[in-house]
Symmetry: C2
Subunit: 137 residues, 2 copies
């Protein structure tokens, strides 16, 4: 299939948005390699991210554009935008300050499944800021 | 909201599957930190992953369970399963051999948007194996 080969082996950036107009996006700390969060972008969020150099997502809970850090100040400066083989997922390499998760942790992935359990999580990180002080009520 | 707090600050593993019964899953090389791929799991794939210690996904293109590497041999030994704050995304830390992407690269993220462009990709990796030799026709 020529189309498939173009998508996988070509240099045209043709991000594939799903039926809701969204594409999965992962943010990774460009320096440490830590995966910080997973979110979605719509076309406009992607365009704004490319234009401004700062990550803008589409919040599925609030159903609106969301410039990361607009409220908390914890923005993401985009160093590189990678796309996967079938172009339905983006990976942003970002430069960040301390505290990327709204719960107070550096990464949203602050818990892991306990060894030998299928139901119990354990915390693998410490909070790096106090979200109650950061987010206005 | 107590429910929200339990999900975000608790130790009960309650992965949130979407309306299609799927949860986003990211695989990251446990040793190098490289993000290898993004995929989906359904409940059964997650259970099999936990039980066997090897990553099993749900292939949305083939609409079936897919043990990573069942055809290519490039399996993923799961070292740790992380979950994000709202428990709608998983992050697997995996031990892998060379070549995790079916196109021939170590990671599915082998291209990046060119600086200053919104349309043109550049390759940022070299192939590590020949997929034509690996996949049976």
């Amino acid at each position: 299939m020529a189309a498939k080969q173009n998508i996988e082996e070509g240099t045209n950036f043709t991000p594939k948005f799903d039926s809701n107009g969204l594409i999965r996006t992962i943010a990774q700390d460009a320096k440490t390699g830590q995966v910080l969060m997973a979110a979605f972008m719509n076309r406009q969020a992607l365009d704004l991210t490319i234009q401004t150099g700062f990550a803008t997502y589409f919040s599925t809970s609030r159903q609106k554009l969301w410039k990361k850090g607009e409220e908390s100040g914890h923005t993401q400066k985009v160093e590189q935008i990678l796309v996967d083989c079938d172009q339905d997922c983006l990976l942003l390499k970002v430069t960040v300050d301390a505290g990327q998760c709204h719960v107070g942790y550096q990464s949203c992935f602050y818990r892991a499944l306990k060894k030998g359990s299928s139901k119990e999580l354990e915390f693998i990180a410490e909070k790096v800021y106090n979200p109650e002080k950061t987010y206005k009520k």
